[in-house]
């Protein structure tokens, strides 16, 4: 779905707050892809990403009258989703026997792990997901917000409540780490060569 202009979004929010179901649906569809992708990259689990995205939308739409139009709607939505994700991660973490920071998923039970090694694209996708999980929570989130969602550093700093310099440090370390991990990953290298 095409990105909404600020005025379009403001109008949708106003109408949704007034009880217009169609506008609320449009608002959801405008943001669900980016939110789901963010949550998927953060959690590594589609089921968790879907549940949290749904709950975040429910909370936002139930409290639209509290929305401050001076801020970006997406920032508000992502902030709520982030809190839900953090809460969920605390519940889910113990179930996985991993000492990796932020690694939720157990390598053996990844729901999307391909069984056919010929599928190089899917393999690379899994490889990327595994690599992301080796980053710290902050590195991963900042990397996703900056490179995937194109958020400016200043917005990320506000979203994560940390100085811009700290955001940049996490970003640089995360990028380097991602490159190192993916560089070590033979499967990724092979798929890179093929592509």
């Amino acid at each position: 779905m095409a990105a909404l202009s600020k005025s379009e979004e403001a109008s949708l929010i106003q109408r949704s707050a007034a009880g217009d179901r169609e506008s609320a649906g449009t608002l959801i569809r405008a943001h669900q892809a980016s939110l789901f992708a963010y949550l998927l990259r953060m959690s590594g689990r589609p089921d968790v990403a879907e549940d949290i995205a749904q709950e975040a939308f429910v909370r936002v739409l139930s409290n639209l009258d509290r929305f401050d139009p001076r801020y970006r709607f997406s920032t508000w939505l992502f902030t709520i989703a982030r809190r839900l994700l953090m809460n969920a991660s605390q519940k889910l973490r113990p179930s996985c026997d991993s000492d990796r920071v932020g690694a939720w998923q157990c390598a053996s039970d990844s729901p999307e792990k391909p069984v056919d090694d010929a599928d190089a694209g899917a393999l690379a996708s899994v490889s990327l997901r595994s690599a992301l999980m080796t980053l710290t929570d902050e590195q991963r989130e900042i990397l996703i917000l900056f490179h995937q969602l194109d958020w400016p550093i200043s917005t990320i700093a506000q979203h994560m409540d940390m100085p811009e310099g700290t955001v940049k440090s996490h970003l640089h370390r995360g990028r380097r780490r991602l490159r190192e991990v993916l560089g070590r990953d033979e499967r990724f290298s092979e798929s890179e060569v093929r592509s």
Binding site: A124, L171, R175, L182
Partner: protein, 273 residues
């Protein structure tokens, strides 16, 4: 110049000696370079193959982040859930709901305030509902009632008829007396009573009228009958007294204790200083 190369230490042991500074690479990926700087940076990569390879790998890794992700359509599920929690209402309906909530909150606050004020003004008042008093008394037998009534009435005066020359049903009233004997819970009785010149007479049993102890007058609440304000209690007060005309008319001419077999509504004590 922004595209400076790193100089290694004098020993020449640095692995990045002569290579493009890492800060420059970061500025490139952070999108902080101007177009001219970016072009210069890309040209400089030709002289630094290691950094060039690193840049290629990072770009490849970051490009993976942009790969489309299959996203389920959440809109219908979300809207259904929102609807179940908080129905989509029109602006007018929402205002009505909001106004109703505000009114309800105000009512609760006012009630709490009123109770607090009432308790401050009347420290002895009890807001707890009383147990079904008459029925418990009745279960103990009418003899108990008469005995209890005798405890709260003056023993020096016992007459067969109230000391009044002429009786009129207009002067009769039914009172509820709250009494707290040490050995039983709060009791309320509904008995017939009669006031004369500030003295309250209570019908203890058929043909026996006794004078209510002055301290008990403050616990007597008329719940029926015609009560001339000037004759109520020793102080002649009528504040807060409820006179039910319907009950007064039903009292009729009989002097026998009545209404003992039905449950009284919770009585509200009246404080008479």
């Amino acid at each position: 110049m922004l595209l400076h190369h790193e100089a290694g230490p004098a020993s020449g042991g640095s692995q990045r000696e002569g290579r493009i500074a890492r800060d420059v690479v970061n500025r490139y990926f952070d999108g902080e370079m101007t177009r001219a700087e970016r072009e210069a940076f890309l040209l400089s990569l030709q002289r630094d193959p290691e950094t060039a390879q690193e840049v290629v790998r990072i770009r490849a890794a970051l490009a993976r982040l942009d790969e489309p992700v299959f996203t389920p359509d959440l809109s219908e599920r979300v809207l259904a859930k929102v609807h179940s929690r908080r129905r989509f209402l029109s602006l007018g309906q929402r205002r009505i709901v909001t106004a109703g909530r505000v009114a309800a909150a105000c009512a609760v606050l006012m009630a709490v305030g009123a109770i607090a004020l009432l308790k401050r003004e009347n420290p002895g008042i009890s807001l707890r509902p009383q147990p079904a008093p008459v029925s418990s008394v009745v279960s103990n037998g009418q003899a108990d009632l008469a005995g209890a009534l005798r405890q709260i009435t003056e023993t020096v005066v016992a007459v067969a008829e109230p000391p009044r020359a002429s009786r009129s049903t207009d002067d009769l009233l039914t009172i509820s007396i709250e009494h707290m004997p040490s050995d039983r819970p709060v009791l309320n009785w509904e008995v017939e009573a009669y006031t004369d010149s500030g003295v309250m007479w209570v019908s203890v049993s058929a043909g026996e009228w006794r004078r209510l102890r002055p301290e008990m007058s403050s616990r007597a609440l008329p719940i029926g009958g015609a009560v001339p304000a000037q004759t109520w209690g020793s102080a002649g007060r009528s504040d807060g007294l409820v006179v039910d005309d319907g009950l007064a008319s039903r009292l009729g001419a009989s002097f026998a204790p009545r209404a003992l077999e039905r449950t009284l509504p919770p009585a509200t004590p009246v404080r008479v200083p």
